[in-house]
């Protein structure tokens, strides 16, 4: 788990600072289903990958999303 702030707090901070037009978020998480605390953040989260994960799959997805920028 991340210390101090969890992934959702981090995304809220990205949104609060107005970075969402430049930052794409891909979550890599141990939780197979996000809880309801993230309702309202869905448009800012491009993808959601659960552990255990294949590094090659993560790289493939990130490379794909880089073509969006």
């Amino acid at each position: 788990m991340m210390p101090n702030m969890d992934g959702w707090d981090t995304i809220r901070e990205i949104v609060a600072r107005g970075y969402t037009e430049r930052v794409m978020v891909v979550m890599l998480t141990a939780k197979d289903t996000p809880d309801e605390k993230m309702d309202g953040l869905q448009e800012f989260v491009f993808d959601y990958i659960t552990k255990p994960f294949y590094p090659d799959e993560l790289i493939e997805r990130v490379m794909k999303y880089l073509t969006y920028i």
């Binding site: 969402t20 037009e21 430049r22 794409m24 289903t33 996000p34 993230m38 309702d39 309202g40 953040l41 869905q42 448009e43 800012f44 989260v45 491009f46 993808d47 959601y48 990958i49 997805r61 794909k64 999303y65 073509t67 969006y68 920028i69």
Partner: protein, 191 residues
């Protein structure tokens, strides 16, 4: 020559949607149907999404504009930050109303605004995503005589949106993304 739409498929997607849409639209030919995509995504990335799912020889892909009629062979993406409404004449309208299900555009708003009899054939599809957006929309589409499909939750980065619709008993068919492409092609192939 493009034809005003008598057939409509509305696809709703949230987190994880762009790659799933890629999979569905890859090698998808031009079809005898208008397709609408309501994807929760920041405005900055709409054009990238449009370019990503467009393939030469396939469906044309546009960002929906106020007052434009729906056409067969054209996929229209809802612009970020606006609800997308289709009127009884099968013409787009953009709405700055309140967020619904925490989002704008909302899949429910687009699907629920479709009036019975506007289209000869109507299907709602809900893909991967957080929350419950799309469940009420699919219920409405079914109530006015349309068909409902969700992405197989086992193939979803986040299963909650399709699972919500399944739990609400408003789903006709559960399909993996490649099967959704096959379904579209089989149902709406050009003569």
């Amino acid at each position: 020559m493009a034809q005003r739409a008598e057939n409509l498929v509305v696809i709703g997607a949230s987190t994880g949607g762009p790659l799933i849409l890629d999979e569905i639209f890859k090698d998808l030919p031009s079809l005898n149907v208008a397709i609408i995509i309501v994807q929760h995504i920041p405005a900055r990335f709409i054009e990238s999404l449009r370019a990503s799912i467009y393939h030469p020889g396939g469906m044309a892909v546009e960002v929906a504009e106020e007052g434009r009629p729906l056409m067969h062979g054209v996929t229209s993406i809802a612009p970020a930050g606006l609800h997308l409404i289709i009127d009884k004449a099968a013409v787009f309208h953009l709405d700055e109303g309140e967020k619904v299900n925490y989002v704008r555009p909302s899949i429910d708003v687009t699907m629920c605004a479709i009036a019975k009899g506007t289209f000869h054939s109507l299907t709602g599809i809900v893909l991967t995503g957080m929350g419950q957006d799309g469940t009420k929309g699919l219920a409405h589409i079914r109530a006015i005589g349309g068909g409902t499909i969700v992405q197989d939750p086992r193939t979803c980065p986040i299963r909650r949106m399709p699972q919500s619709a399944i739990d609400a008993d408003v789903v006709d068919t559960i399909l993996a993304p490649s099967r959704i492409r096959g379904w579209l092609t089989g149902r709406y192939a050009l003569a």
